[in-house]
Symmetry: C2
Amino acid sequence: MAENDGSETRAKRKQAVILRAAEEVFLTSGYLGASMDDVASRASVSKQTIYKHFGDKESLFHAVVTNVVETADQEREEQAFVVGDDLRADLRRIARRLLRGVMQDRVLQLRRVVIAEAVRFPNLGRRFYELGPGSTIDKFARAVEDLRDRGLVETADPTMAAEQLNWLILSPALNRAMLLGDRHGLTPHDLDRYADAGVETFLRAHGTPDLGERDDLRL
Amino acid sequence: MAENDGSETRAKRKQAVILRAAEEVFLTSGYLGASMDDVASRASVSKQTIYKHFGDKESLFHAVVTNVVETADQEREEQAFVVGDDLRADLRRIARRLLRGVMQDRVLQLRRVVIAEAVRFPNLGRRFYELGPGSTIDKFARAVEDLRDRGLVETADPTMAAEQLNWLILSPALNRAMLLGDRHGLTPHDLDRYADAGVETFLRAHGTPDLGERDDLRL
C-alpha cells in the first residue's frame, strides 16, 4: 500500500514534469512545429513514457490547454461568480480577476498558438474555447439570471448579456495583446480600468434603477 | 507618353498579381513558413521582380495586410461612420457592415497569421492593429464625440466608449471564429444579430433620454 502510494506520487510527479516541458515546447514552437522528441528531451524521459502518460500529440496538447486555462485563474469555480448585494463591487472584483488571468503571458501565448492552428486543427481551438471563454460566459449567464431574478438586472437574453459582459471586460486589452504581442504597453492599472469600464457599461445598459444613482457611474 | 502609360499599367498589373500570390502564400503557410520562392513561382515572376516592386518579405507582408484590410470594407472612409438623425438605424448599418467585413475568411485568416507571429514579429501585428481595429476605433471615437455634442450620447470618455462599441459589435463572433476556425457555425443572420445587440447595449449604456423609448430596445 505504502509502495503503491509512492509509485502514484512518482507517476504524478513525472506527469507534471512532462506537462511543464510540453507547455514550453508548444508555446515556443507552436502546435505544428512542436516535436515529441523536444518534449521528451526537455522532460528527460523517453517518448514512450510520454505516450504512456498522455497518448498522442493532440492529447498532450489538450492536457496542456486544460492545465494552463485551469491554473490561469485559481478561483474559476462557480462560487467565484456569485454576486452579492454590492453588485458593482462584486462584478468589478470578478472582472479584474478574470482580465488579469487572461492577460498572463502563458495564457496569451497559448491563445496565439491555438488561433494559429484553428483552421488546420479545429479541435484544439474548440477545447480552448470551451474551457476558456465558453465556460466563463456560462458562469456569467447564470449570474445574470440570478441578478434578473433579484430585480437588479433587466435583460431578455441572459446569454447574450453574458457574452457581451465577458468581452466588454476582456476585449480592448486582449486584442491589443493578441496583435501587438508583448509590446502591448498595458499596465496593471490599465487592465483594472478596462475591467471596471466593462462592468460600468454592462450596468448602465442592464442595471435596474434599484441599483443606485447613475451619478455614481464614472464612464 | 502613351508608352509610359502602357508600362505603368503593366507594372500595376504585375504588382496586383504578385500581391494576390503573396496573400495566398502567407495565408496558407503563415509568415515564417512563407517563402519568396513560392510567391515568385505562384505569380510567375522572378524573385528579383518581387524585391523590385515590394522590397523584402516584411514589406511584402505589410503590403498584403494593407490590401486585405482596406478591401475588406469598401466603405471604410470617414464618411461611412457619419451618424444622422436615426441614430439606431445608422449605427446598426455601420455595425453590420463592419462585422461582415471582419468575418470574411481572408480577413480572419490574416488575423490568425498576424496573431501567430505577434511576439516574434510585433511590427506585423502593429500594422494590422493600426489599419484595422485602431482605425475603426478612431472613427467611432469621432462619431461618439459628434453624438455627444448633439446631445444624443452621454460619456466622459469617448475613446473608451468607442473601444467598447467596436468590441461589443465584433467580439462574440470574432472570438468564436478565431478559436473555432471555419467551423464557427455562425450564419449571416447570427452576425446581424450580434451587430444589432452590440449597438443596443451601447445605446442603453450611453444614449440620452432624447434618443427615444426604452421599450424600443430589444435586448
